[in-house]
């Protein structure tokens, strides 16, 4: 359809960026799932896999950043392309935070695995990680498909994540009261649970970027509007 070579190359770059972002999303989701597996199944190898996989994820993160910056510098994209590039640039950093926390969890996992931890807690952590992974996956998927409704459906999932976090924290506190030796792992377990809870917040941000990519609105606010005009807009 587009015969012009320069334009064709540009469109290919845009499509590549779209693909890179999806790929990055998949890698991050896989890392989150692997941490849950490591904790639930006491699988240290799975945890090592997450730590060792960091390099290739880093390269993907950098590719997305480079692609976004290159497109902005050299192509000055507009309309839907501009929304893709700006949203990808921001979403990449949310995915990077999620990824870092997955690595942190994977590094804490050996301290927990093999210790005397009630299986209800590791089981619930595994479940929490699955909830978070689903949130991230749905948000990334909504982004890739430019589906604002699917992105909106991600937000309520965070209530489940918060509830699971609350429950796990209560169990940790209970165990601390009844078992002195539990203090060894309590801090690590609480940190792990907290990381998952924060991943849920970042997954919501990813959903925000999916909505922005699709509609041009970020939390209801249009791109390029003066913040002074805000009242104006919300009144409309």
């Amino acid at each position: 359809m587009v015969k012009n070579k320069t334009r064709a190359a540009y469109i290919q770059q845009i499509e590549e960026l779209d693909g890179l972002v999806s790929r990055l999303g998949e890698v991050v989701v896989a890392a989150v799932r692997a941490t849950g597996h490591a904790l639930g199944e006491a699988d240290e190898a799975a945890a090592r896999g997450v730590v060792e996989g960091r390099g290739s994820a880093d390269r993907l993160h950098r590719s997305v950043e480079d692609s976004c910056m290159g497109l902005m510098l050299l192509q000055q994209p507009l309309a839907g392309d501009l929304r893709l590039v700006t949203a990808s640039f921001r979403m990449e950093s949310d995915l990077a935070r999620i990824e870092e926390m997955a690595v942190d969890i994977a590094q804490l996992a050996p301290d927990v695995i093999g210790k005397r931890v009630p299986p209800t807690i590791t089981g619930d952590l595994a479940m929490l990680s699955a909830q978070v992974a689903t949130m991230v996956e749905s948000a990334v998927d909504a982004f890739s498909r430019s589906d604002a409704d699917a992105a909106t459906a991600v937000f309520p999932l965070d209530n489940g994540v918060d509830a699971s976090f609350g429950k796990i924290r209560a169990m940790i506190v209970d165990n601390l009261r009844s078992d002195d030796s539990f203090a060894d792992v309590a801090a690590e377990l609480l940190m792990i649970a907290k990381y998952y809870e924060r991943m849920g917040d970042h997954a919501q941000q990813v959903a925000d970027w999916a909505i922005f990519r699709t509609t041009g609105l970020y939390r209801g606010r249009p791109m390029g509007e003066d913040s002074l005009d805000q009242a104006d807009w919300s009144a409309r």
Binding site: R7, Q76, A79, G216, P222, G224
Partner: protein
């Protein structure tokens, strides 16, 4: 058609018209309604309706041949002088029909035009700016001097040329010439400024001076600018209208049109998906 000729006519209203000219208090709202335009039996505009608000910059964009210049020329009736060109529908200036309710020469003082290629007259810098006021009135020397200074100051050229007012306008650089042409247009106190790709022949520094000027002039003029430079449209305009094959496809506040156009044709044009 010779651009120079256009510009002479545009800046040279009939003597005597001055009596009816009230100095512009600000820009006029320009409204096009249902404009169909034909060159002979070739239809160049199809049912174009567009509001161009007073004291704002409206950018007209679209691929070559889509009718941007044709539309612009409807506003100051420059198409009248193209044989076989006719249009239906209406263009109004603050509610007055430009074709039936405003004298053509008066219209040219209310609507100024700036072209792609700077086209100073082969006269001195002073006489270029003084040209319009002299042609439709008998301003005193002092009044004329004040007008020339005011207009050259407004376009940021005064300090550069104040010691060379007797030198030819043709001796200026391209960017200075374009600002001189804008000053010449301003000298008859127009309410509306039409600009047809006013910076496409200029270097980036001159371009940004002219862009600054567009934004500045919009405080008391209605500015309508045709541009092929999307970044220019986003930098200077408040509203953007996208034309395609003689039709107005979409118009919206500039930030909205460039970030989330509603029409697929607009999206395809802005993202280079057009074949």
């Amino acid at each position: 058609m010779d651009e120079m000729d256009d510009n002479l006519t545009e800046s040279a209203p009939a003597a005597g018209a001055r009596a009816t000219v009230t100095p512009a208090a600000g820009g006029a709202e320009v409204v096009a309604r249902d404009v169909d335009l034909f060159y002979g039996d070739h239809q160049a505009l199809f049912d174009v309706s567009l509001d161009m608000p007073a004291n704002k910059v409206t950018a007209l964009i679209g691929p070559s041949g889509c009718g941007k210049s044709t539309f612009l020329r409807c506003i100051n009736r420059m198409n009248d002088r193209i044989a076989g060109c006719r249009h239906t529908g209406s263009i109004t200036l603050d509610g007055q029909d430009v074709d039936t309710q405003i004298d053509e020469y008066l219209l040219r003082t209310r609507v100024g035009m700036v072209f792609q290629r700077p086209n100073p007259f082969p006269l001195s810098i002073f006489d270029n700016v003084a040209y319009g006021p002299r042609r439709h009135g008998k301003p005193s020397r002092e009044a004329l001097r004040q007008t020339v200074q005011r207009c050259l100051e407004r376009v940021g050229l005064w300090d550069e040329v104040k010691d060379d007012l007797k030198k030819s306008g043709l001796g200026l650089s391209g960017g200075q010439q374009q600002r001189l042409c804008i000053a010449r247009t301003l000298a008859v106190d127009p309410q509306v400024l039409l600009m047809d790709e006013p910076t496409s022949a200029l270097d980036p520094i001159s371009t940004s001076l002219v862009e600054d000027l567009m934004s500045d002039l919009a405080s008391d003029h209605t500015v309508i600018v045709v541009t092929h430079n999307m970044q220019q449209a986003t930098r200077v305009s408040d509203y953007t209208a996208f034309f395609y094959m003689g039709k107005l496809v979409e118009t919206a506040p500039t930030t909205e049109l460039f970030s989330r156009p509603k029409e697929k044709q607009t999206e395809d044009y802005l993202t280079g998906r057009f074949s």
